[in-house]
């Protein structure tokens, strides 16, 4: 277990950190490897896609919970480094890309980001998404097509930080689907 953690904790942490706050990312790592420990006999020889598949479901549950929190909270976490555990994660480069990604379905978004951000092969990404390789390519195709269309109609990329622009509307991070907490 120690070896598995040492070899792949950074992969899981990076996967989670791209999609949630720093504190929550550590929780994702913790829960993912807890599952792995209890299912060691199910962990394949190439464990990274399997681990990310578990992490993806853990994140989905986090979002389900976060969905109970107010949109204000989500925005605070986006903007406020303290609320995000002191981190300064801000893509800061291409808000149009993030907006376009946010407009995709979760499955389409994952098809894109598993390749582009997490560095997985198509075969590995298909394992994470629990679909056939053929189905993954179809999803990737559809996602790319929609993303390209969205970007083609979007303004050019900006390097401004979102909070430096007046009247900037808040952009939700990909995979963060907030709803009101009642």
């Amino acid at each position: 277990m120690d070896d598995l953690f040492t070899a792949h904790a950074a992969d899981v942490y990076g996967f989670a950190l791209r999609r949630t706050s720093r504190t929550a990312a550590e929780d994702v790592v913790s829960e993912t490897f807890l599952v792995a420990w209890r299912r060691l006999d199910a962990v394949p020889d190439s464990p990274k896609p399997w681990l990310l598949a578990v992490a993806r479901r853990v994140l989905a549950n986090q979002r389900r919970t976060a969905g109970r929190q107010s949109a204000l909270t989500s925005r605070l976490e986006m903007r406020d480094p303290d609320a995000r555990g002191g981190e300064q994660l801000d893509p800061a480069g291409d808000e149009a890309v993030l907006e376009a990604l946010a407009a995709l379905t979760p499955t389409e978004r994952d098809a894109i980001t598993l390749i582009a951000w997490d560095g997985l092969s198509a075969e590995e990404a298909a394992i994470v998404l629990d679909c056939s390789r053929a189905a993954f390519y179809v999803r990737l195709h559809r996602a790319r097509k929609r993303l390209a269309a969205a970007l083609a109609s979007a303004p050019a990329a900006s390097t401004e930080r979102p909070d430096e622009r007046p009247n900037q509307r808040t952009t939700e991070r990909p995979n963060e689907q907030g709803a009101d907490r009642s």
Partner: protein, 362 residues
Amino acid sequence: MTTRDAVMERVRRADPIADVGVEVASWSSSDDARRVFDQIVGTNVVALRPSRKRQVLWIGGAAVVTGALATATAASGILGEPAPDPIRASLAAVDQGLPDDLRLNPDVDNATSVASSAAGVLYAADVAGGGYCYEIASDGVVPRGAVCVKANAVGDRPIEITAPIPADDFAPLLVAGRINDGRIVGILARYPDGTTNDVGLGESGYWLFEVPESARGVALTDGFEIVGIDGNGLEVVAIAVPPLRDDNPNGANDRLQPIFVSTFSDESDLTLVFGIEGSVNVEGATTLELQYPDGTVTPITFAADGTFLIELPAERHADFAAAWGQVIARDASGAVIATDWFTSVANHQRETSPETTPAPTG
């Protein structure tokens, strides 16, 4: 025009952690990682520690006996037990990042178990003024995501429901909640085919339902309903539980597409397309057709729910090896209202752009 490779490169450049990649790469050896690892080890030890309790309680009219060998992993049926530390921490975390005036401040110190199943325990904590927070624990003390309801919203939810997505293919499907409507005296789970399972109640209206293995498939792909029953046996309310796998290839997400198309082929030769399946989900679609790369069009029959599956003639299997086909939906007037492209898996690997294919004429 934005090319497809340029799109992926642009996404890569927008990687939110690109600027801290070195930190992430070395995170496994950090103090934070060691703390997380120690937490995992500690949690597992707690989960495997035998309970010292021995109690007899009444749950849903049946006596539940727990003995010295009962563990926290296998739900004990003990209600009123204090929540373990990881659960209390998870309940407390609902306020994380919130300003003081938005905090719920659940009474986590007095959080207790309020319902149980074979594989899970439900814990709840009161919120000042009449609200509540609750948390499912599975695999011992692993929290599944706390849910809170403020006092002024309790009346809006005759049955509160939370439905965590299982962490892996073997994890039990646990759905929980609380009855907030005084008319409701019992609840059941109802599946799309009309069959039902009774749901046992815990304390104070809380309930925890473990989907039986026989219904696991339908719960993952189609979801089910939680139905509230009054004292006369009449249905008071039915609330949908969404499919418990949000990434299911046949599930709700694909239904968000105007047309969803997936190819099927022999994995030994990914240049071939033996057929296509999917669904047309756009409003007003009356006809559906397949356009081959050579422009030939053939109708596709789809079911009332929009799903379709067609096998292609053998002489057409290779048509999509390096070219794109299109599924086209038309309305009653014959106008195109939605389209989607597809090609062979092998063609995708060569990154052939579908955008270069001429659009169909309406």
